[in-house]
Symmetry: C2
Subunit: 204 residues, 2 copies
DNA sequence: TTTTTTTGGTGAAAAATTTCACAAAAATCA
DNA sequence: TGATTTTTGTGAAATTTTTCACCAAAAAAA
């Protein structure tokens, strides 16, 4: 099964949205409702789901809890994944303590910084380490994903280090696009570029 | 001229990358180099630029400074834009003091929170206000863009308020997709979904 | 000077993605 | 019961996006 990035992204959002629906106690959701919450069309939602072999019920829609379960297992979002954060400045330390990642199965189990000063000062219940111990900590804790929150100048160097330690997924918050080996999945979240995009769409 | 979102997004990234090249003093850049830095192909870069009527020089590429200038004016990224942040918690207050937005022409000129406590405690040189004064402040300062960093439950309400005050661009950091009037541009940055996407791509 | 190489520009082809159209199934209604 | 409505599932059509092929221009090399 070979899903496009667009499809994967939408399915992940559906998965997230199902969590919210679940809390309301609603049992069934139609493709049109999902589409509305996603900014997509009902066709697209149905097609995306059918690509995974997921089917709903005529005249009822999809059963919320079983859809969530199926998506979770088909997209491998059900298990727990361990992640670390490199760069414990303003942004990195905010992320370090964001409890909601836990709820979604993402466990931030370590923070790294090259400044001993930062490490000493930081107040968190998550263990923090100097970058030197990255290899050991990542191996030992079985960390799969790395979050980069260092200045752009150091982003590539950190990405190299992370992939060198066996990390296969990278979420990069620096404005510099990092290049990674083929097998590694990397996503860039460039806030400034998001603002540029908005400005460009606004025009005038 | 009707550019696709993909094209606009790439052009914005090129614009950002040109800033970095400019600092190195390099005068010309080829479509292949830009493509490399972007994770695109040289065809796409050339086509994107040509859609804007931007042309380069045979055997030299594009002149960095004039390309930046042209992109800036064609995409309206050259001027200064004023933005505000609503929700001054962990993330919002980190964004409030992120100086680099300034360098790119985005001026964060106000912060809003509904908690008086937060407002009193926050240490920043940017003016902060209770949400009640949003309308006045936005009008008075000419704020065009709003950044939402409140909990998901309040995101839609804040988006409504912002658009009600005339804000036309929204960058939403909450995990809840907000719906806005047609004329308003909104971008969602859902970190958890980015992690989900990575996890789904990783598989196993 | 002539040839070769590099790089951009662009219409056409190919590929990918989205939308559509409609059959089928089930709930609702008359 | 039988007609009607609603909603899924999906192959086909339409649209969009990307890639390709190849020409022209200019620099470099011969
Ligand atoms: N803070 C924001 O609101 C914000 C907004 C948009 C983008 N960003 C981006 O996020 C990244 C982090 O921003 P920030 O404001 O938190 O920066 P910051 O300067 O506050 O923190 C950066 C941290 O990274 C550490 N560091 C630097 N080089 C390192 C290395 N090689 N290995 C390990 N640690 C290293 C520093 O010691 C510091 O603690 C930057 O790339 C920035 O552009 C931040
Ligand atoms: N902190 C993170 O690292 C992080 C990571 C991922 C996503 N997010 C998302 O970003 C958003 C902010 O996260 P946070 O951790 O900074 O939250 P937070 O709880 O620290 O801060 C939220 C702030 O919003 C204010 N607020 C609440 N309702 C409001 C309203 N209606 N109008 C104005 N202000 C209001 C609160 O007073 C508070 O100061 C959330 O949606 C969260 O899911 C945060």
């Amino acid at each position: 099964m070979d899903l496009s990035n667009n499809t994967i992204e939408r399915l992940c959002r559906i998965f997230g949205h199902l969590g919210a629906i679940e809390k309301t106690g609603v049992e069934f959701v139609s493709s049109a409702e999902l589409a509305g919450a996603l900014g997509a069309t009902s066709y697209t939602v149905r097609k995306d789901l059918s690509l995974l072999g997921i089917t709903g019920f005529t005249r009822k829609g999809y059963e919320v809890s079983s859809l969530k379960k199926e998506l979770g297992s088909k997209l491998r979002l059900a298990g727990r994944r361990k992640a670390c954060i490199v760069g414990l400045g303003r942004l990195g330390s905010a992320l370090l303590d964001y409890e909601k990642f836990q709820e979604d199965g993402f466990e931030i189990v370590a923070g790294f910084d090259r400044s001993v000063n930062k490490l000493e000062r930081i107040r968190t219940h998550i263990e923090v380490y100097p970058v030197g111990s990255m290899k050991d900590v990542i191996k030992e804790k079985g960390i799969e994903m790395g979050i980069i929150t260092v200045p752009g100048e150091h982003a590539q160097e950190v990405a190299d280090r992370l992939t060198g330690c066996g990390v296969r997924g990278i979420l990069n918050f620096s404005p510099v696009e990092v290049s990674v080996p083929d097998k590694v999945v990397s996503v860039n979240m460039d806030f400034t570029n998001a603002l540029r995009f908005i400005a460009a769409k606004l025009g005038g």
